[in-house]
């Protein structure tokens, strides 16, 4: 999943990125709030999920994101 997420990041940011589990999405990738929102919408489209706002607020790192996406895909968080 990390590779898929990396590709989505690159599409949104328009530049290559290197991400690890502990990469901080805002600090390390230099995303502003609009970038984060576009990125979240791209992730939602790709995985056919909606990430509620309170869940987005809890996501800091790539690992957090992967965990949230997996959780929502299982349907356990609806």
């Amino acid at each position: 999943m990390r590779n898929e997420i990396s590709t989505i990041f690159e599409d949104v940011l328009g530049r290559p990125v290197v991400i690890e589990d502990d990469t901080d999405i805002v600090e390390d990738l230099g995303m502003d709030s609009l970038g984060v929102m576009n990125f979240v919408m791209a992730i939602e489209d790709y995985y056919d999920i909606s990430i509620p706002l309170d869940r987005i607020a809890q996501i800091r790192t790539v690992a957090d994101l992967i965990h949230t996406v997996e959780d929502l895909r299982k349907g356990s968080a609806v």
Binding site: D32, S33, L34, M37, M41, D48, I49, S50, P52, L53, D54, V78
Partner: protein, 407 residues
Amino acid sequence: MSILAKHGAYKQAYDVLRASGVDPLNVRFDAVLSPTEGVIGGRKMILLGTNNYLGLTFDPDCVERAVEATRGQGTGTTGSRVANGTYGGHKDLEAAIAKFYGRKHAMVFSTGYQANLGVLSTLVGRGDHLMLDADSHASIYDGSRLGYAEVIRFRHNSPDDLYKRLRRLEGAPGDRLIVVEGIYSMLGDTAPLREIAQVKRETGAYLLVDEAHSLGVLGETGRGLAQAAGVEADVDFIVGTFSKSLGSVGGFCVSDSDDFDIMRIISRPYMFTASLPPGVMASTLVALEKLQAEPHLRRDLMRNACRLYDGLRAMGFETGPEPNPIVAVAMPDQETAVMFWKLLIEGGVYLNLALPPATPSNVRLLRSSVSAAHTTAQIDTALDVFAEAGRSLGFLTSGRRRAAGAL
């Protein structure tokens, strides 16, 4: 190191703005002379950024009734309706708003912001799903955080994206409430309400429309976008404000929903704040009568709006997608936006400089709002000042004119 040091990034951005010689977040009026004229720094300005759509703030009847009510009932209620009681004005205003919309129930709030907080936090709660247009006003976002519902954003003005997200919720328990705005306050674009109403019908969701900028502006009798789009029957709740077309302050919600009045003992932004003062309610009631009795105000408003919108586009400025009383011009970058705004002020035109994060898609906007009270000459003067500023900043070339930015 102060406790507010955490906001350093905002302070820095604000300092940069102020260092350029302007402070658009802190404009001081020496005087406000009429709905369309004020004085800033000793200079008379055309007011082109006040949301005063019908120009009723100085209406003699509105002013007279406000004075009368203030003399008769005092300057304020000094408390909330649940503690200090309800005045005749509250009941009269609620009855008048309900009648205007042809709805069973109405409730008034002390501001439009509080109406959204109070209604959204009460209609949905834990286990429910709140579907917000991504470009929703701050009061909608803030209201969404008060009620513990799950908040999902859909792409601005995209019924398809909304449908997709509601479909993803299939099988999940809880109510779904869709929230959209009649006219969006930054670009002046309207919601595709017919299509959204169809999604609502197909998915069994409830629909709330915030008509803050469309009350008195759109629709055959001025009820807003729901009326203009012919889908009032699909709109379960309408929220709005008295502070734009009705020239005062305060918010409201109307509905035919059973149990509506339970909100009065649940909604904290209704219960725990002072209610509207008598003078405000009195002028609002008269303004609402005028809105209905004087349909020419709406025609004058749209004529002025189209004149400004068409004039700016003809000069090559990049505006919002449709002509409405909110006319926004996109600027290519912040520096140009600030310079342009400054030149407009120097030329005698006041409007709003709107910068991220208050704007959608990080655009920099010169945001004007037109009034029915503007004269054609005032609109033309504003257009001339725009043209002059555009020329001196070099992005309106003579002959073939070039667009300023991208919307």
